[in-house]
Symmetry: C2
Subunit: 238 residues, 2 copies
């Protein structure tokens, strides 16, 4: 039988009750949640509960815990290192698809061709993290996409079992050469519109990254990113 | 040695000369193309030429043919059948990535849950085809993404060597089960936000489509489409 699903919110659990407060309370009012209705609550500690709403007031929504949902816990890790594009608003639109696709961590990297100031990137972090939290409820993933602080390209380490640098000048090797293999963890480095400097590529190669071609046509950064993640998912263990 | 590439335009060839007219002439002026400069011209008949600009006037830009580029001709076919979303503007933003990814034909399909009127879809065709043409120059594909007229779901035929219906209620099978296989042609059917009616799924299954799951999380239509195409590309023959 198919499991019915309900509106999902972020909240907390206290004994046998679930509570929504602040923005989540507001959001539940916008979605016209009523007394007696069933809702799903993600407590951000790896648990999702179903609760029946028993009280709605100005301070909180209270629901009686009905059931703990069985959640799908994955054992894999997908890390994305993105060379920050010069138009930061491009990142705004990427948070949602990256969250939906199950990327675990987005690492923002200052590359040689990044002309944006660190402080301007930091200013947008809150907005991006909020987008990641909101998307979590829609796409029903368990934990939010983690957006890490800024790092330099030379700080990136090849810590995964498959470490890929998608490089526009690589013409020989592509993901197709790895068909049939699966990995527990994958790290992907991907550039912005300006591409990579040769020295940057050498640095990452020495660290253990493999340069791969992503497509025969020229992809814009947004398409490249989603394509890189989508295709890499096929190489993650189940 | 790496081949240098130049600004690409759409034009025509007459004997040993290349001509840009109308919007392409205008576009070349916006990009400040000058006498003596080398440009690439796609004549939309499967050929790309390099020409040296020898005349720019109000009617045309004329270039002397220098070289015929060797083009990469693919032997595969990727067809996408999209159940039209109720917010037509969503398609606006999808033309460019679909073009970049090398989809050959986008077929717009009226499904049971499509609430948009045919005439409103037809009104936007010109805009979408123009977007496809513009993208062609940027991503450097040879032929434009073909956007076919409207069809009904029952008109879709499983004519490719791999015919996929990405179905949100399919939980067992996914593309991972086909790893290692490659196909000469792939058809993908993908729904809008409303998903598919069970009867529609049965119709397509009887025609030979295989239902596959796309992701464990819930994907918005835009993400689903790019992901479906990106992943399918790994199953196309070289």
């Amino acid at each position: 039988m198919e499991k019915k699903s309900f509106l999902r919110f972020l909240g907390k659990k206290e004994k046998d009750f679930l509570f929504l407060e602040g923005e989540e309370l507001h959001h539940s009012k916008v979605r016209r949640v009523k007394l007696g209705e069933l809702i799903e609550v993600n407590t951000l500690d790896g648990n999702i509960y179903i609760g029946k709403v028993i009280d709605i007031n100005k301070k909180y929504l209270k629901a009686e815990l009905i059931e703990k949902l069985e959640v799908y816990e994955k054992n894999t890790q997908l890390d994305l290192y993105l060379i920050v594009p010069n138009k930061l608003s491009k990142i705004d639109d990427l948070i949602e698809p990256l969250s939906e696709l199950g990327v675990d961590r987005l690492n923002l990297v200052i590359g040689k061709f990044t002309a944006v100031k660190e402080k301007d990137i930091l200013k947008k972090m809150d907005k991006w993290r909020k987008k990641a939290l909101n998307s979590l409820k829609q796409c029903k993933r368990l934990y939010p996409l983690e957006i890490s602080g800024i790092s330099k390209l030379s700080d990136i380490e090849a810590n995964s079992s498959f470490n890929i640098l998608f490089y526009e000048k690589e013409k020989e090797k592509s993901l197709k050469d790895f068909i049939g293999k699966t990995f527990k963890s994958i790290s992907i480095v991907i550039g912005n519109e300006a591409g990579f400097d040769k020295e940057e590529v050498n640095t990452l190669k020495e660290k253990g990254f493999i340069t791969l071609s992503l497509a025969k046509n020229i992809l814009r950064m947004e398409t490249a990113l989603i394509t890189a993640v989508s295709q890499s998912l096929l190489f993650l263990e189940d």
